[in-house]
């Protein structure tokens, strides 16, 4: 599971971070005995060949650098340098200078068994391809010889050479199928690999026997070609999975937060996962709190929207408990990390999530369902053919078995084994280019069955960031003055103000009082203040104060109020309308207060909305829908959505969601466009249509081919042609998804 991946990204946690200047990098640097050191970095915004060249050449130019090699596919960078000449911190600083953000990681923790398995598949594929090509070359000679005057001696000679190539190749390259088939038989079930393994092995054995007695028909070419095609499918499948996995790993490395720990000799940066109870961390305004803990010093406001979905900030003072993932809004805090005990919000959420996941019905993939029908039918057809010829037709058992084997060969499961992975690779590749990561292999299939979409409000339908709401009520002069003050602060409301003013240069001499506001003297004109109601000396009056706000107070001018609201994503209304047009029901499940949820629901035209939902309420709602036979897509980002994401039929979350939620979600989309949900849905539906079409093609092909094979009319030439033809047909059909219109721009 992805949770495991997130945990394995960092190096051995028992090793304490070295207490040096660059101790964020320290644990990742691997030192060699010859005085060189190496580090692996993940470079977030390396997109093109130009980036690779810029990064490599500017790092190569540093004295002492031995090797700088970027991997564009995985967005990774490997550096090796002489330790006496360079400091690792300098390397990251150089990357920052040219505009790239680099994060260290431990390559051994990311390398897993699957990568080895993928290489094995590729080796098998190469051997099978080599053998198939050469055997086919010999087979073409034999087929041509049947029309010319090739003597039986030459034909047997060519058959023996074919056997010499095909038999070792079948034995070696078929291992992925034999292993899986044996495991299935041991568990007393049938999977797709059982008929495949049986067909390949029987073909090889019967062809060898035919060759040994000097018969005219050997099927070595059909056996090895079948293996080759199916290995392509197997490889594509594994490649799609590994691509999704590396995308998920990249996300978890990039989002791993660093914390500033206050120690005996000043502050040092430590990865958030290495925090231990009792450590004291400093959290500046605007930063995310790295761990659960208790406030030691400082007063501030905390944005808990990621945990509860609520947009109004909560006041925080010494002694209060704070949770990882919440954002410190106004004042600097120091927080003592508390033990991760069973009572934390996170532990409760994880318990709910596990319970929801356990209750969810298991999805059986289309290919597996089809294989469940396919395997018995094929075996039965072959058996009936054998018995029919041997017992009823009075044929000797050897030729009867030969015909039965030709039935097994001709019912090539390429629509299952090759076309389904091909559709999946193309679909997930298309979504990846649009910034949508498919994290689970069967997520797209489940997505195609969806009939209801449930949205969370804060951070999903909305951006989860404050925006200036009353632009019309504020005059431009006040806005630009306020923005120049605000540019001096990192407070989220101040940033929103600067953004609303279209950018502003910070004014000199601005003084910030944490938790209150900003103050500056302009031209000896008295104090100009920007901040809370109390800071600006305005009496409380009711009616206006319903959301986050800032006031601007100038001497001799009435104060100006700036109201902020969490605005909807730009295409939220469009997305909801598009989902409706596709006949999907849209519901809104939010943890926020009723007034805020009603406003959003009315703006988007969602009738079915629920406010003040606790995480267990959301799960209960989804399970009620599932019990009514609805397939629900849950879109959410907060920690409070994580159990619902796990409970839903399929789930999607934005890339900036809480770690737990992103891990629970089946798909993750990057960027601010909610339209990703529509794109993912339409791509999934197109993929499902193609898979079903391929099944129809395969059924049609088998309806024609199987009676011919059972009648004993299929010669090796016909078997090879029919099998290759059907494989190519289904694969080409799968690749049509690439041509589909509506592919989103990168």
């Amino acid at each position: 599971m992805a949770q495991v991946i997130a945990a394995t990204v960092l190096p051995d946690e028992a090793a304490p971070p070295a207490d040096t200047a660059d101790d964020t990098l320290g644990p990742y640097v691997c030192r060699e005995s010859d005085g060189t050191a190496a580090i692996h970095l993940m470079v977030e915004n390396m997109h093109c060949g130009g980036c690779v060249q810029r990064i490599e050449s500017s790092l190569q130019a540093m004295p002492g650098m031995i090797e700088a090699r970027a991997n564009l596919s995985a967005r990774r960078l490997r550096l090796r340098w002489r330790e006496d000449a360079l400091q690792p911190a300098g390397l990251v600083a150089r990357l920052n200078e040219i505009g790239y953000r680099a994060i260290p990681f431990d390559p051994d923790a990311l390398r897993d068994l699957r990568a080895e398995e993928e290489r094995m598949l590729l080796r098998c594929l190469a051997v099978a391809g080599f053998a198939a090509g050469n055997v086919m070359l010999l087979s073409v000679s034999v087929w041509a010889g049947a029309f010319a005057d090739m003597g039986p001696a030459t034909r047997d000679f060519l058959h023996w050479i074919s056997a010499l190539i095909a038999l070792p190749a079948i034995a070696w390259a078929g291992r992925p199928f034999y292993g899986s088939a044996a495991a299935a038989l041991k568990a007393r079930t049938l999977n797709m690999d059982v008929p495949i393994a049986l067909a390949v092995v029987l073909t090889a054995a019967m062809s060898l026997w035919e060759t040994a007695r000097g018969g005219p028909h050997a099927y070595f070419d059909a056996g090895i070609t079948l293996l080759f095609f199916l290995l392509i499918g197997r490889y594509l499948d594994s490649r799609a999975r590994s691509r999704a996995r590396s995308a998920a790993e990249r996300l978890s490395v990039l989002n791993a937060a660093a914390a500033r720990v206050i120690g005996a000799n000043g502050e040092r940066m430590v990865p958030a996962r290495l925090l231990r109870p009792g450590m004291v961390v400093a959290v500046a305004p605007g930063e995310r709190i790295p761990a659960d803990g208790r406030i030691e010093t400082g007063t501030s406001e905390i944005d808990t929207s990621l945990i509860t979905g609520e947009t109004m900030p909560h006041p925080a003072h010494p002694g209060a408990d704070v949770y990882a993932g919440t954002i410190n809004l106004s004042g600097a805090l120091t927080v003592t990390v508390s033990a991760a005990d069973e009572d934390t919000v996170l532990a409760e959420i994880v318990r709910l999530m596990e319970a929801a996941e356990a209750r969810r019905s298991r999805y059986v993939r289309l290919a597996d369902r089809a294989a469940g029908l396919y395997a018995p039918v094929v075996h039965l057809a072959a058996l009936v053919t054998f018995l029919g010829w041997a017992a009823v037709g009075g044929m000797a058992w050897q030729p009867a078995l030969m015909i039965a084997v030709s039935v097994l060969i001709i019912t090539c499961p390429c629509a299952l084994g090759l076309a389904v992975p091909a559709v999946q690779v193309v679909a997930s590749g298309r979504l990846l280019r649009g910034g949508i990561l498919v994290k689970r292999a069967d997520a797209l299939e489940r997505l195609a069955t969806v009939d209801t979409v449930a949205f969370d409000k804060t951070g999903t339908l909305t951006l989860g960031r404050p925006r200036l709401a009353n632009t019309g009520a504020v005059d431009d002069a006040a806005l630009s003055l306020a923005a120049r003050l605000a540019a001096a602060s990192r407070h989220p409301l101040c940033r929103a103000l600067v953004e609303a003013a279209g950018g502003a240069a910070a004014m000199a001499g601005v003084h910030e009082t944490p938790g209150c506001g900003l103050m500056a003297r302009i031209d000896g004109d008295g104090e100009t203040r920007l901040g809370s109601r109390a800071w600006c000396g305005i009496e409380e009056d009711d009616g206006t104060g319903t959301g986050p706000e800032l006031w601007l107070a100038r001497p001799g001018v009435p104060p100006v109020r700036f109201a902020f609201a969490d605005t909807l994503r730009a295409d939220a209304a469009e997305t909801v309308a598009a989902l409706r047009r596709q006949g999907l029901a849209v519901i809104l499940l939010s943890g926020d207060r009723e007034a805020a949820v009603r406003a959003v629901a009315e703006e988007l035209g969602i009738d079915d909305w629920h406010a003040a939902c606790r995480p267990q309420d959301k799960v209960a709602r989804l399970e009620a829908l599932a019990a009514a036979g609805r397939k629900v897509l849950m879109a959410g980002d907060g920690l409070n959505d994580a159990p619902a994401l796990a409970a839903a039929c399929v789930s999607i979350s934005p890339a900036d969601a809480a770690d737990v939620s992103r891990t629970a979600a089946d798909l993750v989309f990057q960027g601010e466009k909610l339209g990703a949900v529509v794109e993912a849905l339409s791509c999934a539906c197109a993929g499902r249509r193609l898979i079903l079409q391929n099944f129809a093609l395969a059924v049609g092909y088998n309806l024609v081919a199987v009676p011919l094979a059972a009648a004993g009319l299929v010669t090796p030439l016909i078997a090879a042609a029919a099998m290759s033809g059907s494989s190519i047909a289904v694969t080409l059909n799968a690749l049509r998804l690439r041509l589909a219109r509506g592919a989103i721009a990168p």
């Binding site: 060249q53 090699r69 596919s73 590729l122 090509g133 190539i165």
Partner: protein, 55 residues
Amino acid sequence: MTVLVWLIPAALFLGSIGLAAFLWALRSGQFEDLDGAAERILYDDDPPGKEDKAR
């Protein structure tokens, strides 16, 4: 038809050279960054010191 005795081993030998080359390329990590490799051919001036980093 005696020519087959020479021709078939010759064909197999040539094919196996291709197979060996592919397996070697796989082992030496040339399939690890297909996107990057496609771009690298376009760099016109290799920075000095790049020659010594055989993989």
